[in-house]
Symmetry: C2
Subunit: 282 residues, 2 copies
Amino acid sequence: MKLTVAFQGELGAYSELAAREFFHADVEVAPKPVFEAVFRAVESGRCQRGIIPIENSLMGSIHQNYDLLLRHRLHIVGEIKLRIVHTLIVNPGVRLGDIRRIYSQPPALAQCEKFIKSLRGVEVIPAYDTAGAVRMIKEENIRDGAAIASAQAAADYSLKVLKSGIESDHRNYTRFLILSKKKAPRSSHAKTTVVFATRNVAGVLFKSLSVFALRDINLLKIESRPIQGRPWEYFFYLDFEGHADDSPCRKALDHLREIAASLRILGSYEKGREADGRVHKR
Amino acid sequence: MKLTVAFQGELGAYSELAAREFFHADVEVAPKPVFEAVFRAVESGRCQRGIIPIENSLMGSIHQNYDLLLRHRLHIVGEIKLRIVHTLIVNPGVRLGDIRRIYSQPPALAQCEKFIKSLRGVEVIPAYDTAGAVRMIKEENIRDGAAIASAQAAADYSLKVLKSGIESDHRNYTRFLILSKKKAPRSSHAKTTVVFATRNVAGVLFKSLSVFALRDINLLKIESRPIQGRPWEYFFYLDFEGHADDSPCRKALDHLREIAASLRILGSYEKGREADGRVHKR
């Protein structure tokens, strides 16, 4: 039986492309309206896996998903870095000169700012989802507008790709995390994500990071988020190289527990590869 | 002559309240449609100061403003922490039971989630600005809707505050930064904000923080943002105690320059007090 993977957005969304690359297309996908529904679908067992974007190389972290990782009790079991190639999608027969309005999700619109400016006098209209914008221009047969989304979304709705690779910076990747109720099997090229709160003492962040530096464990990312109800105090999310069960990492985490007010391991999982999204047949 | 202070939003926005608390009301204010316009107004000299929200104690950092601090060449010259008290504002005669729609900026709506849920069956409609939502319900004489904004906005538009303090968590503060073309005068209770990029070597963040820890300089905040065109590399923004011209801080920053690929001091300024927003007469 195929795994069912929950993702936020509509069919053809970048999250779906990332899921198909990660699982080599061999999955059922379950579109959800909001990120929290992805977490709930996995927690309830209705879906075996979830996929969420955590970071875009141009826009930064998707902080809402950091907060949801803390509120829910799932394990990160994998990651994939999807190259984001935006395409300009229109109804058949619509030409570049006809376009007066462009619909897409705000981050996609921001990533294509240079291209949109080159069109002059075009109105930008935010949509809740890239693939949803494509469906909308199809259903309403919009003849003076275009959507920005993946080539997959164009194929799914049998619309025309007028231009591909319209993002301002081609080194545009989104990193996605795979979520599951169970831990990942141990891997040799692992990374680990943890979240901790510090006690209110001097030099505490430095001391927290020292547990990794003293053991030559490489930090990959640090992200801070506010602690609700304790203004100007923060949770720190850390990504580091290695598996939480490896001896130096285990010792580092034991050491961090001595220093931190709280510590939770969100997952150890194989480091993700970079992938180009391909168009899949339905 | 009074200072002119640029802020994002309409009259009655929390940024305006923060400006009036910081400057003891003794300013002219210049509303701007977007944050970037605040930076440009100060750079061009049309306004002597700008004020921007940088962090909310419940929602976290306003990352766009971190990015704008890097893109523009202004100095941070002050800060203030404004207690955010949301009020439910209606046209005269409208009662709680009449309300079917609530208008406000998405962060304000999120901060009042519990109260909004208690009303049942009320539709939530995002607006670009809290005070703008108040103006809109006034201008369109909406009888089945309410806006969430400051008491100042209600006073400005002569509307009625139906309920005050409707935020889910009363420890709700927004920290604002004051921007100027010139550095702040030296102060004895100073903090400093810097931004740096690291070289790609092991333990580099730990080494960067060590320059402060070795000199007992207290870190107040760390924030990471992606470097455009260099996926998975980051700028780090640091707030620490002390003035960049104080001897230990100067040495720490010299030391950090040895380690970092780039370093810029965004400002040394007096630590901000907490303030309650008051209603001012126009």
